[in-house]
């Protein structure tokens, strides 16, 4: 029984860091399993998805929605038990609580048990939760590998994504007709490299994408291309990354803090105007101070002369 999870891949990937962090929001004061039931529990449903990140980490994600006032919305703080099927028997992975978006995730280790056809099965269950009724869902996926080739010839640049799966004989074999979406990594997420950036793999398991020219890179012109297989029936979500010096160079800002009114450094005309105007006035003041000193000196001389006379 395979669940096809309609979950936005980029959402999953980009939010993962944050979502992982929020997963932990709970404390002793929040409803726990041992608390007595108060009122009826909400009806809950689970959606599951699987994804493999560029660095090979495999994640199972359960999104729990609960019926509240006739509408399904994200179920917070639901305890989800994750199991993997090992030799037909469920083996408990661990218990995870859902975050504000109703998401609970678990990492699948390298030793995740596979069945004869190299598929693995993950089951998510809500069992005896204080707020939500029991629910269960499972998913069934196989691991795929995506490798990226960055080819530059003259002015044309292409990205080739080769999708392979492990055969029973232990050899990698190409995957045909898998749709690969080509994106460019940005600060907070992966941006579609072109308006039509989805390409299906051919008989050799290769998807070839003509890389557009106008995508800005970093100061050195480097970009990272991200190839994604999204919601594949067989492989779930798979991501691969590769870098190249293909981006348009970011024009270096010569001086990020120019002499401007808004910057820490005053424009020269302003400095010169203020200094000369007020400096001039102060020069006159100093002349006046000197005159006053001289008045004093004159007085002293007169006083001296008077004492001599007397």
């Amino acid at each position: 029984m395979t669940t096809k999870c309609k979950i936005n891949c980029s959402l999953f990937l980009k939010r993962s860091a944050l979502a992982i962090a929020i997963t932990g929001i709970f404390s002793g004061s929040l409803p726990a399993q041992d608390k007595p039931k108060t009122g009826g529990k909400s009806e809950a449903t689970i959606l599951m998805s699987y994804s493999k990140s560029a660095d090979g980490h495999k994640m199972a994600m359960a999104t729990v929605k609960a019926k509240k006032d006739g509408k399904f919305s994200a179920a917070k703080n639901a305890w989800v038990n994750f199991y993997v099927l090992s030799g037909g028997q469920p083996q408990k992975l661990r218990q995870v609580v859902t975050n504000d978006r109703g998401v609970a995730k678990v990492e699948l280790g390298k030793d995740t048990p596979l069945d004869d056809s190299l598929y693995f099965t993950v089951i998510a269950k809500i069992e005896g939760d204080a707020q939500y009724e029991d629910a269960q869902e499972q998913m069934h996926y196989k691991e795929a590998n995506v490798t990226l080739g960055m080819n530059a010839q003259d002015t044309s640049r292409t990205v080739v994504a080769k999708v392979t799966e492990m055969g029973k004989d232990g050899k990698e074999s190409p995957v045909k007709n898998a749709e690969v979406k080509f994106c460019v990594k940005r600060l907070f997420g992966a941006m579609s490299a072109a308006e039509e950036a989805a390409v299906s793999t051919d008989d050799k398991g290769e998807a070839t994408f003509a890389y557009p020219k106008n995508i800005p890179g970093d100061t050195a012109g480097n970009i990272t291309v991200v190839a994604k297989i999204l919601d594949n029936d067989k492989f779930g979500n798979v991501v691969a990354e590769a870098s190249a010096n293909w981006g348009t160079h970011l024009a270096n800002i010569k001086d990020p803090f120019p002499r401007e009114l808004w910057s820490p450094y005053a424009p020269w005309p302003l400095v010169i105007t203020i200094t000369s105007l007020f400096g001039g006035v102060w020069c006159v003041y100093f002349f006046l101070f000197r005159q006053m000193v001289k008045i004093k000196k004159d007085g002293k001389e007169v006083a001296k002369a008077e004492t001599i006379k007397n």
């Binding site: 932990g24 579609s192 910057s263």
Partner: protein, 323 residues
């Protein structure tokens, strides 16, 4: 730190766990309000709390052993320079905004602000009688020709190379010239000492202009685009707190912005295709925040009310955009 690893103890232990806890704690601080409960001293010492590690393991830790984790803030000099090669930009898609103020809440949680202080404020606008009302969330615009940094006598508020305008509350003398100069009423003044509840919540975080806390009496504060979050590769609190995906944030140099669902779009195309505009453009402040007009709304418009004569009213739910 005491921690009992419930299962799978062989992989991670010791310091790494501590760091991961830290990451969780930081995450909590950022998104949920729940953390304050954990740390506000409601519990007896010795009580255990359950915490979850990023890879799904449950830990139990003594509450007294928990400490809030924030990455060590960058130095003042670094905070003044900003992140090299970046030009941060924010886009509000008004057609999606339903005025729920979740952005304000997320911001207030993140920055421990008092409820009356809205660094990002959601206005209900009604420009003219014949026009439809709409919601207008307004953060600091981090202008490229900022009136506030121009008038600051001590360079306490400054514009960085990544476009962000920050305040150094260890230098600010509290003259409030910047507040008078800002045409968007973005700045707030700490008229009194921060309350004891707030001080307890903030704890003894090392101050940095990048995180704006702990706040100090007699200084000015405002929306800071969450540069401490950006440095961790995370979206600002309001962006990730928006359930309607109204707010996009990103680097203009990369020509990409991302919303809370993680959807990353081409900035230039987004602005071009949606007839983006900037607020009070005629003032020449060059805001770094763009608005997409509330066309084809995805929510019911706010009810037309007191402001339908096209004049802003004090205390009314409606305001209008003069100009």
């Amino acid at each position: 730190m005491q921690s009992n690893i419930e299962d799978d103890p062989k992989k991670n232990s010791g310091r790494r766990d501590f760091l991961r806890f830290g990451a969780i704690a930081a995450g909590l601080t950022i998104v949920g309000g729940g953390l304050q409960k954990v740390f506000s001293g409601e519990k007896e010492p010795g009580e255990k709390v359950k915490l979850l590690s990023p890879n799904g393991k449950v830990y139990e830790a003594d509450t007294s052993a928990l400490c809030e984790f924030r990455p060590t803030p960058v130095s003042n000099a670094e905070a003044r320079k900003g992140i090299e090669g970046k030009k941060f930009v924010m886009v509000f898609d008004l057609s999606k905004c339903d005025g729920c103020k979740k952005c304000t809440e997320a911001c207030q949680t993140m920055h421990y602000t008092e409820p009356d202080r809205e660094w990002i404020k959601v206005f209900t606008m009604h420009d003219a009688k014949a026009e439809a009302p709409y919601y207008l969330p307004k953060p600091c615009f981090h202008c490229d020709n900022p009136t506030c940094t121009k008038v600051c006598p001590v360079n306490a508020t400054f514009k960085r190379q990544d476009g962000i305008v920050l305040i150094d509350n260890e230098r600010c003398i509290g003259c409030r010239m910047c507040m008078a100069a800002c045409p968007y009423s973005t700045r707030f003044f700490n008229w009194s000492h921060p309350g004891s509840a707030q001080r307890a919540a903030v704890g003894n975080i090392t101050y940095s202009p990048e995180q704006s806390v702990p706040r100090r009496m007699g200084t000015v504060e405002k929306c800071d685009f969450c540069p401490d979050m950006i440095r961790q590769g995370k979206l600002p609190a309001c962006v990730s707190g928006c359930p309607m995906d109204v707010i996009y944030f990103g680097d203009q140099n990369e020509d990409a912005v991302t919303n809370s669902s993680g959807v990353t779009v081409k900035l230039s195309a987004l602005l071009e295709q949606n007839a983006a505009y900037r607020l009070l453009e005629e003032l020449g402040t060059e805001p770094r925040v763009y608005y997409l007009p509330p066309k084809n709304r995805k929510y019911p418009a706010p009810e037309a009310g007191a402001g339908e004569d096209g004049k802003p009213k004090k205390h009314s739910a409606m305001g209008s955009m003069p100009m």
